[in-house]
Amino acid sequence: MSAERSRLPALKDRVMENDWVRFAISPGLGLGWVVLLLFLPMTVILAISFSVPGDFGNVIYEFTLENYRRFWESAVYKNIILESLFYGVVVTALALPFGYTAGYFLGRSKTDWKWILLGLVVLQYWVPFIIRTYAWIIILSNNGVLNQLLMGVGLLDAPLDIMYTTYSMVLGLTVSLLPFMILPVYVSVSTIDEDQIHAAKTLGATDFRAFREITLPQSLPGIVSGVLFVFIIGAGAFLAPTLLGGPDTRMIAPVIETVFILDFNWPFAAALSVIYFGVIGLLLYLFTRRVDLEEALDTGGAV
């Protein structure tokens, strides 16, 4: 009995000191989580995208290229992917100047309100997308807050018809994504040594030139990170196109949902997912040839 007891801690130590066991517990746990719950499922949908759709969401495991042929031969689905990327670019192009300006203000301002303003951006990050999106329904609808106020003061006779159009979708999505631009820009602008800017101006540089040659290059990591997050989340948006967009606003995420839930066509939904992820992956690959992906994610991710 006593021999048993003395052997147990030794066994425990041997197990704990084993390199494989320690790898499995420490970095391996997180890696395993991602591989098991993300990589493996993505491999499964890759396999299923080459299968035949059965009735009611069933999958018949016979190899076919039919799902990809269907995508390739229909202009509709190809255009939806292109439109998603287009809206991603539009939203990024709008969020960049506004988000940069606000982030720049936060980084350079000496106001006492700075910490409150910064806190408001972080809180904005935390507000669920469903709420940020829903707010625009209340505001922009025909009998919404904006129209009631404008008609109340007599500026409008008939309600402004902007809800359920591409404009309302782009507006709502851009505002939702602004914090993802503001915060990384703030982080990189606030680390710039102000003496450099003063020195440049003392040496005769104009405001514009000092900005272009000192502030802009040093805030580039923030811009890169903001653009990465805003573009990926924007192009893949589900709520904004579904709730704020019009009948002519088509984006890939709602379409995948429809094929998956309403058409119950799992193999085709899988094929669309694979194609869309392929496109995003290709863009990311081109991106990483110029930029350190880990650094960009770190700047934007660790709020």
Binding site: F23, P27, L37, L38, F129, I131, I137, A235, E257
Partner: protein, 285 residues
């Protein structure tokens, strides 16, 4: 050419012209920056205030500004079993995912900062990849995967998947704290005879604990608000608040949604803010 500061000539003339050939005094430019910032903040904050105000508006049609204030939509909320169920589910899943991601994130970050292994840089991207895969694809892929395995829908499903979605954030936050950590402290403890576990408990954990709390708060917030992937993973008994709000928006818009959204705002802002505020106090002993 712009790099050669000795030959100023042309570039300086260009710079003097400023934007579109207009030169503005510095304080005017700064005021433009300030004004744009105000616009950005109004666009971000005002919509949320409208929701909160509307939730106290007795009118069903949401006449704005409200003529009077009432709690009728909160009373309606309390009488709605499905909504309360969703709220309890969301809280349970959020708390469980936060604890889970806190644990997994801590161990993983420790491994990545302290250990040497092959392909480390590539494996970091693996760990961060949930940030890069669009949530709609995460949603569809997990549904098909678990469906093929025959796993039934339960809150566990949500917990493990929300842990996955929060893990990159937890990892990044805890890792950045570990980078600032003085490793000689651990070596000293080990030299003095402490085993790994004791070293962790007595030295490492107290120092990185604040960042673990931050990480868990962020993961709770992500879990509590996640919709796009989660919509595929729930059924009636395991539904969450964002999914309930979404399905209500599809059927009929009622001010009850504003009340539920306001409750959600309070949970997602007040609770984390309080926790982060108490963080320092919690670990000062």
């Amino acid at each position: 050419m712009a790099t050669d500061h000795a030959t100023t000539g042309e570039t300086d003339v260009d710079a003097e012209r400023g934007y579109f050939g207009i030169t503005l005094p510095s304080h005017v430019k700064w005021n433009l920056v300030r004004a744009t910032t105000v616009v950005v903040y109004v666009l971000m904050i005002l919509p949320l205030l409208v929701i909160v105000l509307n939730s106290f508006n007795p009118s069903r049609l949401g006449n704005f500004p409200p003529q009077s204030l009432s709690l009728r939509w909160y009373e309606a909320l309390l009488a709605d079993g499905l909504m309360l169920r969703a709220l309890v589910n969301s809280l349970q899943v959020g708390i469980a995912a936060a604890l889970c991601a806190g644990l997994v994130g801590t161990l993983t970050a420790m491994g990545f900062v302290r250990k040497r292994f092959r392909l480390k840089n590539g494996l970091v991207i693996v760990l961060l990849s949930p940030l890069l895969v669009p949530p709609i694809i995460v949603g569809v892929a997990a549904t098909i995967f678990f469906g093929q395995l025959g796993v039934g829908r339960s809150l566990w499903w949500l917990i493990v998947m929300h842990t996955l979605l929060g893990l990159p954030y937890a990892f990044l936050i805890i890792r950045s704290q570990l980078y600032l950590f003085d490793e000689t402290l651990e070596e000293a403890a080990r030299t003095l005879g402490a085993d790994r576990l004791t070293t962790f408990r007595e030295v490492t954990f107290p120092i990185i604990a604040p960042s673990i709390v931050t990480a868990m708060v962020i993961v709770f917030v992500i879990s509590f608000g996640e919709f796009t992937a989660t919509q595929f993973w729930v059924e009636r008994t395991t539904t969450t608040v964002p999914v309930v709000i979404f399905s209500m928006l599809r059927t009929s818009i009622s001010p009850k949604i504003d009340a539920l959204a306001t409750v959600m705002l309070v949970v997602t802002i007040a609770v984390p803010a309080l926790l982060l505020g108490a963080r320092r106090w919690l670990f000062e002993h």
